[in-house]
Amino acid sequence: MAERSAPRAWRTPGLVLLAVVLLASPPFLSAYWVGLLTQVVILGILAMSLDLLIGYTGLPSLGHAGFFGVAAYGVGVLSTTYHAGVWASVTGGLLTGTLLAALFGLIVSHVRDVYFLMITMALGMVLWGLSFRWIPVTGGDNGISGIPRLEGLVGLPVSGPVPFYYVALAVFAVCGGLMMLLVRSPFGLTLQGIREQEPRMRSLGFNTWLHSYLSYVGAGLFASIAGIMWAYYNGFVSPTYLDLTASSELFLMVTLGGPSTLVGPVIGAAAIVILKNVMSAYTARWLLILGIIYIVTILWAPQGLWNLGGRSKAE
């Protein structure tokens, strides 16, 4: 792949810096910043999972927060209404999210481009509506609160923001590693082939429907893992986890950071989480500033931050 060969010398030090910050900084940070970093790694998993679809398979999903939210609701309902243990709740959340992706995948995997965008958006809205209106189970607009803390449940001797962060970081590392393996595998290369030239892939004998379907389910699986972590991090779930705003913000994380890189979406997640929280403390006009940043990025780095300096695909 020609674009891979374009040297981006700053990428390796950038990656090392990112790893060092994520690994070593929390003990020296205040609880508030550890909280923000926790959000970054959890939303990083989610953004990477969407990158599997957008960046690698070329499927722009606007309903991806749905699986994230459904898995979070799985944990919320099991651990509060049914008082299930931590592993039962986690498994339940994971199954709900993944099975739902397997079901939705049947509906969406044969469409592409803007049709895919519209159908995933519609399905996302259906899930949001369900979370909002299925009151006996989801608590409606008020959501479900009172999800127990994770640290104690998994047998950690200490609790608090830092231990939770390292749990989240470990999950992040495992998920990131798996996704990295996935996209480098022959299967992952097929996905990129579908993104570039689906008719040719089909004529080569690949079952492109099945490959798209599997990538959709895989993305749903990793999104569910992020949703589970998010439910435990916040201690509650509410319909805002899976509304259109959440899905579009997630979409922005991927495009801002740089699709089809996996690292880029994490940078995008970090940029959005940190910018939002830091700027809104100083000015009420932070949305305006965020908007300007998006526009500047689109103009100067249309392939996203992590792809900066390389040749664009068009060349």
């Binding site: 205040s30 609880a31 508030y32 910043w33 909280g35 923000l36 959000q39 909002f132 209106r133 009151i135 409606g140 607009d141 008020n142 959501g143 609160s145 009172g146 998010w230 916040n234 201690g235 509650f236 509410s238 319909p239 805002t240 986890y241 705003t245 929280n277 809104s280 403390a281 009420a284 932070w286 949305l287």
Partner: protein
């Protein structure tokens, strides 16, 4: 001047300097505050903040001999964002006390965190019943109201004083709507009234035609619980459908609250609603408040504006009662529960043992006075509790109002 005469003067001067030095060496009291300041609920959030800023200006940002630092955050009306901002205020800025939140969903999301961090918090607006009923927290003090509170009174009023026997309700389809309609239904039906039909509209409603078409023309009244854009749209369409003048319109207080009333026209006149506040309330305290609010912000105060003026007064009264020793959080939350601020715009209020105010409920009718629409108070229920006349223990053993 003889030394003997000057001595007491000198001494008192010294004492004064010491006292001053002492008060100024104490660091400022940090108050964390959050409401939605962006998105669809920004205007209501802004009103709440305005009321608070106005009161803090009145007292010169000083209480209990200490300066007050106000830290304002935007919770975007998203519960997870609200929680992040609460963590920021508590863990990074180390605020002594928190105030704010607009939506029930945010209120519920914050409660476990507030309780676990043992930070006293004032909820000026969040009206979800259970926050001071089945899921109350000892660290949360509500200075606003609970959704069903004015509606219990209003259900009786509608039957007895307005002579209404049958009603169709139309309300926003979420907890606030259910609790308001539930409260109204309970007392109205107990009197012998009949709810013919309950219509629920989604929060994103754009057109009321499908709902208005369902209303039978032979009911005595329509009870509407809406707010914001939906309230404006509803009023217009109610008239267009020829219902105004044929079927009386009554409702929850937010339907004609001053955050939407100035944008309504003749179609709103005559609507009767119930709430714990009206900008047209004819008391010296409210006249002074409404006048200076109008001078400062060039608009009529809404119930949201009043909420944090009163909430602020409440909070400052508590801080003064413990001489500004806000580091003692237990003492502060106790003082918050005992505080009895006076001269409040909405009238006398005190907290019940569950942390919800006992306050007047006003029956208001929309009238045009000097060219402006206002909620004229036509009747008052004094000292209404969140449990109305029911026994709290029995009330709490019953389920929360739902659809």
């Amino acid at each position: 001047m003889k030394l003997s005469r000057a001595l007491p003067l000198l001494a008192s001067l010294c004492a004064a300097t010491i006292v001053f030095a002492q008060t100024d060496t104490r660091p400022p009291i940090k108050i964390g505050f959050m409401v939605p300041l962006s998105g669809g609920n920004a205007q209501n959030g802004r009103d709440i903040l305005n009321g608070f800023l106005m009161y803090l200006d009145e007292i010169g940002y000083r209480a209990g001999g200490r300066r007050i630092d106000l830290l304002v955050e935007d919770d975007e009306a998203i519960p997870a964002v609200g929680l992040t901002k609460a963590r920021k205020l508590v863990e990074r800025d180390e605020v002594h006390v928190m105030a704010g939140a607009l939506l029930s969903s945010t209120g519920y999301a914050l409660a476990p965190y507030i309780t676990s961090m043992k930070i006293p918090m004032v909820y000026p607006v969040v009206s979800a019943d259970d926050l001071t009923q089945r899921r109350r927290s000892e660290w949360i003090v509500r200075t606003g109201w609970s959704g069903s509170q004015p509606n219990h009174a209003f259900g009786e009023y509608a039957y007895q004083k307005l002579g209404i026997r049958s009603v169709v309700t139309i309300a926003l389809d979420y907890a606030f709507g259910w609790e308001s309609v539930g409260g109204f239904e309970r007392t109205f039906v107990a009197q012998g009234g009949r709810i013919r039909q309950k219509l629920w509209v989604p929060l994103s409603v754009h057109d009321f035609a499908p709902y208005l078409a369902q209303i039978p023309r032979d009911v005595d009244a329509v009870y509407a619980l809406l707010l914001g854009r939906a309230a404006l749209q509803f009023m217009r369409q109610y008239q267009e459908f020829g219902l105004k003048g044929r079927v009386r319109l009554i409702g929850g207080g937010t339907t004609t609250d001053e955050h939407v009333l100035p944008f309504m026209g003749e179609e709103a006149v005559g609507t009767i609603t119930a709430l714990h506040y009206s900008a047209a309330l004819d008391t010296p305290a409210n006249k002074a408040f409404a006048e200076s609010y109008r001078m400062r912000y060039k608009k009529v105060p809404s119930y949201y504006s009043e909420s944090m003026y009163t909430g602020g007064k409440w909070l400052i009264a508590a801080i003064n009662a413990i001489d500004g020793r806000v580091e003692d959080r237990q003492a502060l939350v106790d003082a918050l529960r005992r505080a009895k601020p006076t001269d409040l715009p909405r009238g006398p209020i005190e907290l019940d043992e569950y942390g919800n105010p006992i306050e007047n409920v006003y029956i208001r009718r929309v009238e045009r006075v000097n060219g402006q629409l206002q909620n004229t108070v036509i009747d008052t229920f004094p000292r209404v509790s969140q449990f109305w006349t029911f026994d709290p223990a029995r009330y709490l053993s019953e389920p929360l109002y739902a659809r």
